[in-house]
């Protein structure tokens, strides 16, 4: 946490003290024999950008629909702003949804779409006019106000959907893969825009996505879901640096995995015997006892490639098998024994020499970067 300077960690710390916007206690949802959600519990802080991340079918959209009141849980409690939401029907909940398909009313103009929520709440018409104009400005679609949704591009529809939800000033905004249907460039632009919008408005955003990069870019905290359960939940940084298991490690970025056995334990570190030789790793609470099997993981960018120096601690001899040059960095595939390692290296200098296929190198796995996984 502390090594990343900048404003976001500070923002997060401030958020930690805020009361929860949404509390979910042991929610289960079954569709016939299929368990979509299995005793999920989580708490989303006020003003937080929270992502539900997982592969399709993991239950993230179902959870979002339950928060919005569009679906009901079989068991468990949902609280919104401290109030039990189970008895509040969808149309009375202080939350609004941006749907994956946008779900704009095709027979209404952009303006009427955005005004819909306010009119349903019987806000006086002059007031509706002002607030709609404000919302259209906020997402920069004022010039399309009199068009029908069919006359808009995907990105414009996305903005209308956003304005239509935000104009109601919800306590929580629920976003179901809102950028999923857009092309990459537009998606990246809108990610940044969405984030700055959230920061400006201070509304709690709950965001469903299967795109790990999107989740990393935008969220304060992420819940990684699989098969109806939360695999790990936490702040972006800790989730990436300290994944709990293989699934989280592999879903959020890439990892190199090493199986081994704990040989010796010291107060702050342990030595693991692996097929590639002994590796020293930092010890953290909960890490295994001597003699126990252990799975070590290391992120590709944490692996250092050493071309000179001979053998040393946590160094593994390897041979470069493939080089992928992508400008800012290069990706190397290096074989050490049975294992193929992925290594990312920044091309920090113009003169950085690129490794050649077949070249013999050593891979250094810094003790502090080795992660112990649960499985």
């Amino acid at each position: 946490m502390t090594e990343t300077a900048g404003e976001r960690p500070a923002t997060r710390r401030a958020l930690a003290d805020a009361p929860p916007a949404i509390e979910i206690e042991s929610i289960s949802r079954r569709f016939g024999d299929f368990t979509a959600l299995d005793r999920i519990s989580l708490s989303i802080r006020k003003g937080e950008f929270f992502a539900l991340l997982g592969p399709s079918g993991c239950g993230k959209t179902t959870l979002l629909r339950i928060i919005g009141g569009l679906d009901l849980a079989d068991e468990g409690v949902v609280r919104i702003g401290g109030a039990d939401a189970r008895t509040i029907p969808a149309h009375k909940r202080p939350v609004n949804t941006v749907f994956q398909s946008y779900a704009l009313f095709p027979h209404m103009t952009v303006r009427d779409n955005v005004a819909f929520g306010l009119r349903m709440k019987r806000v006086p018409e002059p007031r509706v006019k002002d607030r709609v104009a404000g919302a259209l400005d906020l997402v920069q679609i004022a010039s399309f106000a009199d068009r029908k949704p069919a006359q808009l591009s995907g990105g414009q529809k996305q903005r209308v959907a956003l304005a239509r939800a935000l104009v109601n000033e919800p306590q929580v905004l629920l976003l179901d893969e809102p950028l999923g249907a857009l092309d990459l460039k537009l998606r990246k632009e809108l990610q940044v825009e969405l984030l700055s919008l959230q920061r400006r408005l201070g509304i709690t955003f709950v965001f469903v996505t299967h795109d790990q990069e999107e989740a990393l870019v935008m969220s304060d905290r992420i819940a990684v879901m699989r098969a109806g359960r939360i695999e790990q939940m936490g702040e972006v940084h800790s989730l990436y640096e300290r994944p709990r298991n293989r699934f989280v490690g592999q879903f959020l970025g890439s990892v190199n995995l090493l199986e081994g056995k704990v040989e010796r334990r010291a107060p702050n570190e342990f030595l693991a015997a692996t097929a590639l030789g002994p590796l020293r790793a930092e010890l953290r609470p909960g890490d295994p006892e001597p003699g126990g099997a252990v799975t070590l993981a290391i992120r590709p960018e944490k692996v250092r490639i050493v071309t000179d120096g001979g053998p040393g601690e946590n160094r593994i001899p390897a041979q470069v098998e493939q080089v992928i040059y992508i400008g800012s960095e290069s990706h190397y595939y290096a074989r050490a024994g049975e294992q193929l390692f992925i290594v990312y290296a920044m091309n920090a200098r113009a003169t950085t020499r690129e490794l050649q296929v077949g070249e013999r190198v050593a891979l250094e796995l810094p003790a502090g970067s080795l992660i112990v996984l649960e499985d």
């Binding site: 949804t97 779900a103 009313f105 209404m108």
Partner: protein
């Protein structure tokens, strides 16, 4: 550099365009020709004949004769030989009322039915749709007579109605307005259910969720998110019911007692027993005009419903 090379190519393109345009013309004449001929021979010519008849006079032997006159239309409007007589305006009104009533009853019945069928699982859906169409396999007259039997004083249906206190003992359920509307509903419901069902089947339910998410309660979700989506099917169905219903006279005849004169049977009477083709033609044309005006109003209203004003 490229100028001199581009120019001939541009003319080539232009020439090519002329060719395609000519080709298109030839093709459209060839392809639409039969349809135009069909419409001319079977629709326009007879229609013009009727228009011509309607401004001619009935001859002494029931033939169509000169001179030209607008007397047929005057008579229809109520200004006959013996001063004002509302007989025909009343007939027109009665037919329109029956058609409008039938359309309304059919809409009310078709909505739940269409949603119910659309909600059935695949196989049951096919069966339900077949059941909707099955009455068409029986002649309308037979179906209508069947209702006479069902509505007879000693029939089970009548007994049940008596038992529920809906009818008096010993009184048949027909002839009555109720019986007429039951008969009309039975005859025209499929025309509304089928197009409506097609629309219901295509409903995007996320729009209903979006409306609900934005604060609309049940009725307003229906009004703002569902109804606009089924509007095309509903209007198509209403037209399909309204038009034939204006000409219907068999059902009111058989189930409403034999005294009601409708547009349909007054036309039949003029062309048949009365042998007054000019007057019959005038009634037919006015009936057609009334239907066209009705249709125009209906579609206009439907497209207005599309525009969302303040809610």
């Amino acid at each position: 550099m490229t100028g001199p090379r581009l120019r001939p190519r541009a003319t080539e393109i232009q020439f090519g365009e002329h060719l395609t345009r000519l080709g298109n013309l030839v093709r459209s004449i060839l392809t639409s020709g039969p349809a135009i001929a069909w419409v001319t021979v079977f629709l326009l010519v007879p229609l013009l004949g009727i228009v011509l008849f309607s401004v001619l006079t009935r001859g002494p032997y029931g033939e169509v004769a000169l001179p030209f006159t607008i007397e047929n239309y005057l008579r229809l409007a109520g200004f006959g030989l013996f001063g004002f007589d509302p007989q025909y305006p009343v007939i027109i009104l009665r037919s329109l009322l029956l058609a409008a009533g039938t359309t309304l009853v059919c809409v009310l019945a078709a909505f739940p039915l269409a949603f119910f069928i659309a909600g059935l699982p695949g196989r049951a859906k096919q069966i339900a749709l077949t059941l909707v169409v099955i009455p068409f396999w029986t002649n309308l007259l037979i179906r209508t007579y069947a209702w006479q039997i069902l509505f007879a004083p000693d029939a089970a249906l009548t007994q049940a109605a008596v038992g529920l206190g809906l009818a008096e003992e010993g009184m048949p359920l027909y002839p009555s307005t109720l019986a007429v509307y039951v008969g009309m509903l039975c005859a025209y419901l499929p025309f509304l259910v089928l197009p409506l069902y097609t629309s219901v089947e295509k409903i995007d339910w996320t729009l209903a969720e979006a409306a609900s998410d934005l604060g609309a309660d049940g009725p307003r979700v229906f009004r703002h998110a569902i109804l606009p989506q089924v509007m095309p099917g509903m209007v198509a169905g209403m037209i399909l019911v309204f038009i034939p219903a204006t000409g219907q006279f068999v059902i009111p005849d058989l189930l409403g007692g034999a005294k009601t004169v409708m547009l349909g049977n007054s036309i039949q009477q003029q062309f048949g027993a009365s042998r007054d083709w000019p007057f019959g033609s005038a009634i037919a044309l006015v009936a057609m005009g009334v239907v066209l005006i009705g249709l125009w109003l209906q579609t206009r209203y439907a497209s207005q419903g599309d525009e969302e004003g303040p809610l």
